[in-house]
Symmetry: C2
Subunit: 424 residues, 2 copies
């Protein structure tokens, strides 16, 4: 049997070479249809969703001693089964979808039940988010922000090169792609005002991030090795960390962002497994100074993963690309973030979501937020047709795409989209 | 029928006047016994736990259309039923426990099943913590910390008087009283060091707080009125926000506390209902400048609630009181905290826990943390017998007690205790 990452594998389900979802990917998500309105777990293949609850109930996927694992509104129960079962199940799904396996291919009745056209599927939040943490691990992003607010000489805070800086975010407002995002209200105090006022955010922004989905718990009081952290990572999503810059500016000293980041965080509906990303691992940037021993890593833990951001104003027919960057630029890796997160003895849970932090790159067109793209509002962005932006306006739609390019196929994440609606 | 807060009510269960749990209290918790190891919901009365799952299964408490609400490992399912049911159920429990109601009193078999001596009960975490948020709402505490680190002239940050400053904490390490707390490790960089090192925290501290337990959800994108916020508050616990001051000092700029507060947060096992605290409501400090309209409150939302902290070193037979203060000193009330928390459109969930922030008072012996008591380590605290402390040492046990004093009875919280064990 071939490894499910084998580039030569083909499925009997037709998959366009530009599709995000070839047989080498098989990401997990949660979906429902008009006919089956109860959400359950599926895997993406080409333009279809493979209904894993159907395959499990038919005995084609065996998760014993667990059962009814896929007839659930999240993938958490599946993640809880651990990395061996993740690997075995992905291999089994791959086997069932191979072009030369007649089992599902030639069973017309079963195929009709198990393969749902993606156009007919409503995609839901794939995970029950236990905790949401957001990091700040792109050196380019942290430097850009630092230069803007503190000048070139003090751009990076003294701690930044020694640990992955992060904060706890708000899990209750993590939503799936396509969910509309209402412009938040909050306390605003521009430098020109003597006292704050309360009203709609005027500097609404996005942040291009990846999210790590934690699939195994760790015990309170324990630290993690690199290998343990690696094994706990189930997969990745794209993540938009919507940010109200003006609310943030006034509230964040000394305890960090709170309401500025609490109103919405959007993620892609498909969780791409760590295993599917293996062929695209590369070394990250050289870390200098060398990390402290607990943060050292022997394995390369960055991924060559291209990321695009498009912005479509209400008056535009299609989005205009405003950023193309790559996950590989991240200074601190996901494994280092997780090791640091648990370093005090902080227990990790199945369903924890760790945002990478805004992913910017060294070039100007690789900046992953409007704060950086418009240089704090001083350099408006031209979208064509006379449309300019410094920050987001009502009706604007933001869309991220991300994929790893293989030889003749891509392992992709689909889309994470959100449209801004007016403040209440 | 008397109101369950009526001071003249008596129970057939004997209750000492110094007990925290008279019939006027009836706090909810989760317990198990050696004979019944599956945790379920109970109410405290004197030295007993009233097994509410037994009363529900016997039809003595009717929560229809919900059922099996108390045969659960948390009070979340009960909280989800809403404030009318909270009120009706408390009245029913009060009725069943009255000295002049023979129903339970004279049914020996039922009484033996329903009343469990507290000494035989193991108390568990009473809520499934959905999200944990920690505020910073004592003006005295914020001022003390500000004076220590920034001097008298800049003690309060400019935003502090305009909103309840808070940050998202880590829900996964909220533990019940009695759980041992392992000294965390982390990155430390004292001012004298050029580079950070990794090791056990040397400045381990407690913070005396109350926690608000949210019993009803709010929708993403919506704000709350004062009345709506009030209705969402189920009750209160005592809360110890363990803090690693040295880890915090190095990590917290610019995104706030992370690992310094992630290793443990202890709460009391009994959730005292908002209704039981009603007789003890008082006005908080005058707020000047006046809060913005969304934060204005018509009702008094502070409570006259006395709080004691005792510290017992391993070599001591009993704890030494190191702080006595009162919840009434808090500048921002719990309702204002909740209104602000939802102000951006942040959805609140059943089981959210909101720490008040360290409760200090105007006097020196009313300081709610060792950071303040020892003035950042410069004024060691004398515990008697030659034992001194600046910060916590291994084997130290911290214990909080809190109660509202009525006429001849007290509505109390029991204890929240934690003992420090050595770093791994």
């Amino acid at each position: 049997m071939s490894h499910p990452n084998d580039p030569s594998l083909r499925s009997f389900v037709p998959v366009d070479p530009a599709s995000d979802f070839p047989i080498q990917n098989l990401p997990y998500g949660v979906f429902s249809t008009a006919a089956s309105p109860t959400p359950s777990v599926g895997a993406a293949i080409g333009d279809y969703v493979l209904d894993l609850a159907v395959l499990e109930s038919e005995g084609l996927i065996d998760l014993a001693p667990a059962f009814d694992v896929f007839a659930q509104p999240s993938i958490n129960a599946f993640m809880a089964l651990g990395p061996e079962m993740w690997s075995r199940t992905r291999a089994r799904i791959s086997e069932l979808l191979r072009h030369d396996n007649p089992h599902l291919r030639d069973n017309k009745m079963l195929r009709a039940r198990a393969l749902v056209p993606m156009a007919q599927a409503k995609l839901h939040l794939p995970i029950a988010v236990a905790g949401y943490t957001d990091f700040y691990s792109s050196k380019e992003h942290a430097t850009n922000v630092g230069v803007m607010f503190r000048g070139k000489d003090n751009a990076l805070q003294p701690n930044w090169l020694h640990m992955p800086i992060g904060y706890n975010g708000r899990a209750s407002t993590v939503v799936v792609s396509g969910t509309k995002v209402r412009r938040p209200r909050g306390q605003l105090k521009p430098p020109s005002a003597d006292v704050p006022s309360f009203g709609p955010c005027k500097r609404l922004d996005f942040e291009l991030e990846m999210g790590v989905v934690i699939g195994q718990p760790s015990a309170m009081g324990e630290m993690l090795t690199e290998a343990q952290a690696e094994d706990m990572i189930f997969g990745f999503v794209m993540l938009n960390d919507w940010s109200a810059r003006d609310i943030q500016q006034w509230e964040y000293v000394p305890l960090g962002p709170f309401q500025a980041k609490a109103f919405a965080t959007s993620i892609s509906p498909w969780v791409v497994t760590r295993e599917a990303l293996e062929p695209f691992r590369i070394h990250g940037p050289v870390q200098d100074p060398a990390p402290l021993p607990y943060l050292k890593q022997a394995q390369p833990n960055n991924y060559d993963l291209q990321l695009d951001v498009a912005l479509r104003a209400a008056a535009m027919n299609e989005g205009s690309r405003i950023c193309r960057t790559n996950f590989k630029y991240m200074y601190w890796s996901s494994v280092q973030q997780l090791v640091h997160h648990a370093s005090s003895g902080c227990a990790m849970n199945v369903g924890d979501l760790l945002g990478s932090g805004t992913i910017s790159g060294p070039e100007k067109d690789q900046r992953g937020s409007l704060l950086e793209i418009s240089w704090n509002g001083t350099e408006p962005l031209e979208l064509g047709g006379g449309i300019k932006r410094t920050f987001l306006e009502d009706g604007d739609s933001l869309s991220f795409h991300g994929w790893c390019q293989g030889d003749g196929y891509r392992v992709g994440f689909g889309e994470v989209e959100g449209t801004i609606t007016p403040a209440a």
